[in-house]
C-alpha cells in the first residue's frame, strides 16, 4: 500500500515536472523570439536613424551655405543701392579676386606638405596616372586648398593621364620624380595620408616610393591661363 502510494506520488511529481519543463521551454523560446524580433527592429531603426542623420548633415550644410549666400547678397545689395561708385568697384574687384583664388588663378602661400613620388622600376611607371590620381583624390578629401604637381596647379579641369612615356597634366608633359605641393591643414593631411592600410600602402602596391615632408610655408603658383578653355560655356543668367 505504502509503496503503491509512493509510486503514485512519484508519477504525479514526474508529470508535474515534465509540464513545468515544457512550459518553461515555451516561455524561454517566446522570450528568445521576442528578443530576436526586437533586434531586427533595432537594425531597421538604426538604418533609419543613419539616413536621417545623413540628411540632417547635408541639409544643415546647405542651410549654412544658403545663409552665407544671403548675407553676401545683402551686402552686395547695400553696396549697389547706397554705396559710392568707388565702393561698388571695390566690391566687384574683391569678388573677382576671391573667385580667382578659388579657381586657382592666383599664386598662394600657406602651410602644408611636400610629397615626392618616384618609381623604382621603369615598368611601374605605367600605373603612374592611377597612382597620382588616387593620391591627389585622397589629398583633396583631406581638405586641401591648393595642389600642384611639378609646378602645374591642379584646377577643376586638370587631367592626369598617361600618354606614352609621360603624364599629361594641364596639357603639358611630365615625367618622374613627381613633386607634389599641398597647402592645407598639415595635421589632417599627414594623418589622412599615413593612416595604416591607407593610400600609401595602396601606392606601395603599385611600386611607387612616397616621401612626405611637412612645411610651415609653401608657395604654389597659379595655373597657366592658356591651359584654361571656357569657350563653350554660356553663363545662365540669374544663376
Amino acid at each position: 500500500m505504502i509503496t503503491n502510494k509512493a509510486k503514485k506520488g512519484t508519477v504525479i511529481r514526474n508529470v508535474a515536472l515534465t509540464i513545468t519543463c515544457i512550459l518553461l521551454g515555451i516561455v524561454i523560446s517566446m522570450q528568445y523570439k521576442s528578443i530576436q524580433f526586437k533586434n531586427t527592429v533595432n537594425d531597421q531603426d538604426l538604418k533609419t536613424i543613419n539616413d536621417y542623420q545623413t540628411r540632417l548633415i547635408n541639409l544643415t550644410g546647405e542651410r549654412d551655405s544658403l545663409l552665407q549666400e544671403k548675407t553676401e547678397y545683402q551686402r552686395a545689395l547695400s553696396v549697389f543701392e547706397q554705396g559710392s561708385p568707388e565702393e561698388q568697384i571695390k566690391y566687384l574687384m574683391d569678388e573677382s579676386k576671391k573667385a580667382k583664388t578659388f579657381a586657382g588663378l592666383t599664386d598662394v602661400t600657406g602651410p602644408g606638405v611636400e610629397i615626392i613620388v618616384n618609381f623604382a622600376k621603369e615598368e611601374d611607371f605605367y600605373d603612374a596616372d592611377t597612382v597620382l590620381q588616387k593620391l591627389i583624390n585622397e589629398i583633396k578629401a583631406s581638405d586641401a586648398q591648393a595642389i600642384s604637381i611639378n609646378g602645374e596647379r591642379i584646377v577643376s579641369m586638370t587631367e592626369i593621364r598617361l600618354v606614352g612615356n609621360y603624364l599629361a597634366i594641364n596639357n603639358k608633359h611630365y615625367g618622374p620624380p613627381f613633386n607634389i605641393k599641398v597647402i592645407g591643414n598639415v595635421k589632417s593631411l599627414q594623418s589622412a595620408l599615413n593612416i595604416p592600410g591607407g593610400v600609401l600602402s595602396d601606392l606601395k602596391f603599385y611600386g611607387a616610393e612616397v616621401n612626405i615632408l611637412a612645411k610651415d610655408e609653401l608657395q604654389i603658383m597659379k595655373v597657366d591661363e592658356n591651359s584654361i578653355n571656357i569657350g563653350l560655356l554660356k553663363e545662365i543668367e540669374n544663376s
Binding site: E95, N137, T158, E159
Partner: protein, 154 residues
C-alpha cells in the same frame, strides 16, 4: 568691362550655372546575378574619378556629378553605400554631365582604361550626346576653401 572680368573668373571657378553642348552619362550598379562579393557589382569612387579624368583629358570645360559641380578640390570618396563628392554623400545612379565637344568626349572616354572595366563588370552605363547641357554652380561655401592662404599675390 569689370563686370565681364568678374564673370569670366566666376565661370572658371564654377560659381555660376552654365550651359553648352556635351554629354550626359548615367552609371549605376550592376544587377546582382549571383551570390558572392557584392563589391564587384557596385560603382566605386575610382570609377567616377577616372571618368572625370578622361573627360578632362578630352577637353571638358565643366563637369558635375549628381548636380555637384566639379571644382579644383572636389574629391570622390567611397563612404559605405555612397560616394562623397564636395563633402556630400551621393548615391547611385550617378549622372555625370560634361560640357565640351561631344564627339571628342565620347571618343576619349571609350579609349580610356575605365570604360573597358565598366563594360566588363556589367555596370549599367548609358551615354547620350546633348546640344544643351545645364550644369549648376558650386553651391558649397567656397570662402571656407580659401581660408588657409595667408597671402594672395595678384
Amino acid at each position: 568691362m569689370l563686370n565681364k572680368t568678374v564673370n569670366t573668373n566666376k565661370i572658371i571657378a564654377g560659381l555660376v550655372d552654365v550651359e553648352g553642348s556635351g554629354i550626359e552619362i548615367r552609371l549605376d550598379d550592376a544587377q546582382v546575378t549571383s551570390e558572392g562579393n557584392y563589391n564587384f557589382f557596385i560603382v566605386h569612387d575610382i570609377f567616377l574619378t577616372e571618368i572625370i579624368n578622361d573627360l578632362r583629358f578630352a577637353g571638358a570645360q565643366a563637369i558635375s556629378i549628381n548636380g555637384e559641380r566639379i571644382i579644383p578640390m572636389s574629391e570622390q570618396l567611397c563612404l559605405g553605400p555612397s560616394v562623397r563628392v564636395n563633402g556630400k554623400k551621393l548615391f547611385a545612379p550617378y549622372i555625370i554631365k560634361a560640357v565640351g565637344n561631344p564627339k571628342v568626349l565620347e571618343e576619349q572616354l571609350k579609349k580610356g582604361k575605365i570604360y573597358s572595366e565598366i563594360i566588363s563588370k556589367n555596370l549599367l552605363f548609358d551615354m547620350t550626346i546633348q546640344n544643351n547641357i545645364k550644369i549648376s554652380k558650386y553651391n558649397g561655401n567656397y570662402l571656407k576653401q580659401i581660408s588657409v592662404f595667408e597671402e594672395v599675390k595678384e
